[in-house]
Structure formats: C-alpha cells, structure tokens
Symmetry: C2
Subunit: 232 residues, 2 copies
C-alpha cells in the first residue's frame, strides 16, 4: 500500500470499480498510489455474493471509501452469473464465441453509475480492471469499448461540457494474468483477500474449474508463486 | 392509439423510456405504431414521484408492459430534482448555463438500463424523448450525445458484436414543444394523463413556474389548444 499522497496537497479523488477479484484489487493498489480512492461495488443479484465481502475488505485495506450499489434483479438477466438455471461451464480454451457467463451491458451499467458518482464527487478519474488478453471474450472488456465510453461520457455530463474531462483508466488492458500478478506483487497486494471464482461459496472458496479460476491458476503458475485461493 | 400491428407478423419489441411527461408520452404513441412496447420508468428518489403514476397509466393506455427500475438514492445527487435542499428555480429565458435541475449522468444511466433490458429481451430498438430545441440545456439531450451512446452500445454488447445492431430512436430530437404537441394530437395522445412539472405534488398537480411547466404552457399556447394540466 505505497502512496504518493502529500499531506499538504490533498490528492484528487478517483472512482475505482471494485469486484473483489484479482484484477480490480490490483487496480485499486495502482490507483491508491496517486489518488484518494472511492470504491464502487455492485449487488446485481450475482451468483457469487462473497466477492462483495472481499471488495469491502480490500477497500478498508487501502483506506478507500466504499459504496455498494444495487442494480435491480432481472435487468442483467439471462447469464450463467445471474440465472441459477444456467450452469457455469468449465473452462474450455477452444471456445471462441462469447460464453454464457457474459452479463448483458454489465460494464456499461457499472461505468454509468461510476460516471454519475464521479460527477457528484467532482472526480475526473475512473479506474476499471478490464483486460483484453486473459479474459473471457466479453465485448465490454476491449479497449475500443472503453474509448467509445469515454467519448460518450464527455458529451453526457455538465462536467465534460464545461471542460472538466473524464478519463477512464485501464492499467491492465494489455496485460496477461501473470503480468497483472507480478504488478500486484510489486505493490504488495494481499491476493488472499480476493475472490475470482464465478461461483464462489459464501465463505469465498472457489470451484477451481470455471474460466475465472483457470485463468487465475494459470497466471500464478506462470509467475511461480503460490495462489492463496481456497477451494471448496 | 393507432397501430400497424399485424396479427400474422408479431411486431418487434421496443424499449421506451417513459418519464410520464408530455415528450415521452408522445414517443410512446409514435413507437406503438410499429412496435410492441416495453416501457421503462425510473425511481431515482426524484422530487416528483407522481410522474411514475402517470407513466404507469400511459403504459396501460398503450398496452405496453411496464417496468419500474430503482436507482440508488445518492448516485445522482446534487440536483434540484434529487436534493430537497436545492430549490427548483423559476423559468428564466436568459439563463445560458446548465441549470441546477441538471441531474448527473441521468440519460446515460437510463439508457444503460435500457441497453441491458433490450439485450435480455432481444430488442434492437430503444426510444427516448430527448429534444434539443425547447429543453433546459442539458448536455445529455443533444444529438451528438445520442450518436456517441449508440456507437458505444454497439461495441458493448454481445448483440452488437454479433451483428444485431441497436438503434436509439429520437423522434423528437429536432422538434419544438409546439411541434411535439401537434404530433401527439394527431396520434390522439391524452395529455391529461401526463405530468411535466419538476415539482408536481402527489396528485400530479403542477407549479406553473418551473422550466418544464413554462415550456409546456408556451407550447400549448402556440398550438392554440387547451393544456389539461392541473395546477396547485
């Protein structure tokens, strides 16, 4: 938890989207080096709610203020992550289509809440842990989506129109999972606090077989350090 | 309530953002001519909640399914429409800046919910009653914002990536208030069901002095028909 915060110069406020997973925990560590962070987490009736406990603990660890936002059940329906009747599939490296764990418009809804909160808090910086290398093929994790969102956001708000331009920071966008873990280790991120599994149980224990578990496991193996994940 | 619905060919589904005001009621009437409409209204702890009753009655009048979505109180704070401590100002034609009734990222949040619901319902059409002529100077009512949103939305979703492109329809974008009222009268819209006032009371009665009341009153006067608005 290194910090460049100056006692004399109050650091600027940044909004950090925090899922409680490995990627967003690393992003919070990066953002905390320069910004006073406000963490946003979302209850969207997702399968794994234990990630929200992880998010709150991570926010506390980085002295970030924490806001849990509710999105109505049903708005992002039809995904294995939001519908108990659709099973989370095991990882399959050969699948090229967008998997059933895709959640409709998820990052758009998350960023849109962050955009409103940023304007209310007079923040011009939003951090999101998307990455386009070791990910699940979701369209809203790509750089072209993020740039289009940023362009839209600066046309949408009073702040944008008046010249207080918003920047969406994606420090992980071109990083592999192992590179992200190395970055986090350099910043002393406690990955034991994080939950990556799509179907973690109430205690935050992981399945070991879903996309997210497999990508995480592979990343730690490549780095050659122990993954503190607990499996059920 | 004219309709081109064919009995043999089921009409496509459209998502219509419905505030309960004059503009969105007219849009619902327009959309209902070609589409099977699903109306979305929002409880964002706004000052005038009676507009939600108006929205529900309008949806029923057009046989549209109705969904009320909740947005957490505080996410869109700091506006005269969401903060009881900030008074709604009287209409002032000379004011060129964005007024205190501006709500942070409101249309972005509304459209982002609509985007998720559209994908879940396999709809490729969203209708929104923004207009850039007789409006209050809000940045998220301009055509350039809508086009940027549509561009972003088609990069964000599985539907967009797979070629089922979304269109955001803005049939009022270049219309004055009086032109909108003429369009609605031609479609037999019952404006007695609508509530435009920023601070309408629980019975849906209007103040007569805010931006929204004044623009509406001026529009009806130009058309030369009676405004059924009830004032408190």
């Amino acid at each position: 938890m290194s910090s460049n915060k100056s006692i004399k110069n109050k650091p600027a406020k940044a909004i950090v989207l925090l899922s409680g997973g490995l990627d967003s925990a690393t992003v919070l560590a990066i953002a905390s080096q320069k910004f006073d962070c406000h963490a946003l987490s979302f209850d969207y009736a997702q399968r794994s709610m234990s990630e929200l406990n992880a998010a709150q603990q991570l926010a506390e660890a980085y002295s970030a203020s924490f806001q849990l936002i509710h999105i109505d059940k049903g708005v992002m329906a039809g995904s294995a992550l939001t519908d108990e009747n659709i099973a989370v599939p095991d990882y399959d490296v050969d699948v090229e289509s967008i998997p059933v764990t895709y959640v409709p418009a998820r990052n758009t809804l998350f960023l849109s809440h962050a955009l409103a909160v940023a304007e209310v808090m007079s923040s011009q910086d939003i951090f999101i842990g998307v990455n386009a290398v070791d990910y699940s093929g979701y369209p809203d994790c790509r750089s072209e989506f993020i740039r289009a969102y940023e362009n839209m956001a600066n046309l949408a708000t009073k702040a944008g129109v008046e010249g207080r331009q918003l920047t969406i920071h994606t420090p992980l966008i071109d990083k592999s999972k192992s590179e992200i873990i190395r970055m986090g280790n350099n910043l002393a991120v406690d990955y034991g606090l994080t939950v990556s599994c799509y179907q973690a149980n109430a205690e935050g224990e992981a399945c070991g077989s879903c996309d997210s578990c497999q990508l995480r496991r592979k990343g730690f193996e490549e780095v050659g350090v122990l993954d503190p994940t607990r499996y059920f």
